[in-house]
Symmetry: C2
Subunit: 236 residues, 2 copies
DNA sequence: AATAATTATTGTTAATTTGACAATAATTAT
DNA sequence: ATAATTATTGTCAAATTAACAATAATTATT
């Protein structure tokens, strides 16, 4: 057992699963652990819950400390409490799901390159895996603690919620100017399946435009081949 | 600050929201707190998480210790971590949702009458309230700690899941012999709205009978006026 | 015994939603 | 100019939903 933790009490950690959509795939932010336990393994960012902070604010400040990002969508994911999930002693983890547009995350990663790496989540025949510079199985030994289980839980949560909530919108680079194609690529990345363009447009507009949560802007998309797309604005 | 808790650490509690459906209404199991803090208030059953148990098994053994009920459906609800949720010090609560058929709960309550009371959840113009011998508002001072918030979270969880999962079946007196009307009354109690008999039957059978999760039994309902109902069996 | 009342079950029909595709429009690349 | 590309609109049958109506099997009442 590790020396830095008192052994006769339960320690509470807050871990973040920071998710983005890059290149048509979900991606999770991980950092390589420099020391034992699990030295060299990839881990979700986290730290012990301060005595005078709620998990909610602790997650918020941990996020701010890691990335200069404000107002990212965040929700409590699950609390992991297996007795032997941490070899140092009894540590439970309150995991939070954080959604960040790739374009905002991208800039941050180059600055702390050494500690951060970003991997793509694939849905490889029900066996989710992380690939990047290396390939890492979610239930393999290269992920620290039970972080593979946390990630799987987060993926399921996102997949379950994207069709009937607005979580997908939080991956948009700008909620003030996005194309329906951009939103569709987010849905496809999260669900891991292609969707019909026409039907997707219809269901999104039926759900959000008629209720006033989405409206067309004057602008159209500049770059790219083909007919330029109308840009929309999302109003929560 | 209370003396029984060390002040320089975070304590972890496991609380149970034991829900049933009685008389067409949801009901939550509460016990009156005998001592401070919140003496005399109604509270969800709970205790501190033992060092050597996961929250999952702690919830299970706490349940068994309170009620002689085996195999009740249970899921982690949410972890409540507000800094000042407990006046004794820093206590976070991992709340679990437990679903029990009223007929099984009924017998247990008489035996520990002093400590347990069962209240009905009403949906009174968006202001949920508990009524029974007394009337208690969910956000009033008669509920201990943040237990009103926990209950509200549990109600929302149930309402959100009942239409697309099988949680409703766990309120059935017997999953081996139930009528569709009995199941419908559970749905109506959880959702707080009446449903069309014919359409309810159709949607349930379409979802569960065609997939083999529900099948007709040879039996029919004995008691009651009117045409006796066919009894079904639920196979998870 | 006959009739009413009650509850379960089945049936009907229009409206809406969904799924799969085709057609058209506006742009860039050749 | 023409092809290729992408966005947008349109179509149409199938499936689902919502709101009711009708029938069936039982108990309660006269």
């Amino acid at each position: 057992m590790h020396k830095t933790l008192a052994s006769a009490q339960i320690h509470v950690a807050v871990d973040l699963m920071i998710v983005t959509v890059r290149d048509g795939k979900m991606a999770v932010l991980l950092s390589r652990r420099p020391q034992a336990p699990c030295a060299g393994c990839w881990a979700l960012p986290g730290h012990l819950l301060p005595l005078e902070e709620s998990a909610e604010t602790a997650a918020e400040s941990l996020l701010r400390e890691m990335l200069p990002i404000d107002g990212a969508y965040r929700e409590q994911l699950f609390t992991f409490t297996d007795v032997s999930r941490d070899p140092r002693g009894r540590v439970i983890s309150i995991a939070y799901l954080v959604l960040v547009p790739w374009q905002r995350l991208e800039g941050c990663l180059t600055r702390e390159e050494v500690k951060l790496a970003c991997f793509t989540v694939c849905d490889d025949a029900k066996q989710s895996a992380l690939v990047g510079p290396e390939t890492i199985l979610l239930d393999g030994p290269q992920l620290a603690f039970d972080h593979g289980q946390i990630i799987r839980t987060g993926i399921r949560r996102l997949q379950g919620k994207i069709s009937y909530t607005d979580v997908g919108f939080h991956f948009l680079q700008s909620t003030d100017a996005f194309s329906l194609r951009e939103l569709q690529m987010i849905f496809e990345a999260v669900l891991g399946e292609e969707m019909d363009k026409s039907n997707f447009r219809r269901s999104i507009l039926a759900r959000y435009e008629t209720t006033g949560h989405i409206s067309q802007t004057e602008d159209i998309q500049k770059s790219g081949r083909g007919r330029p797309a109308v840009l929309y604005r999302y109003i929560p």
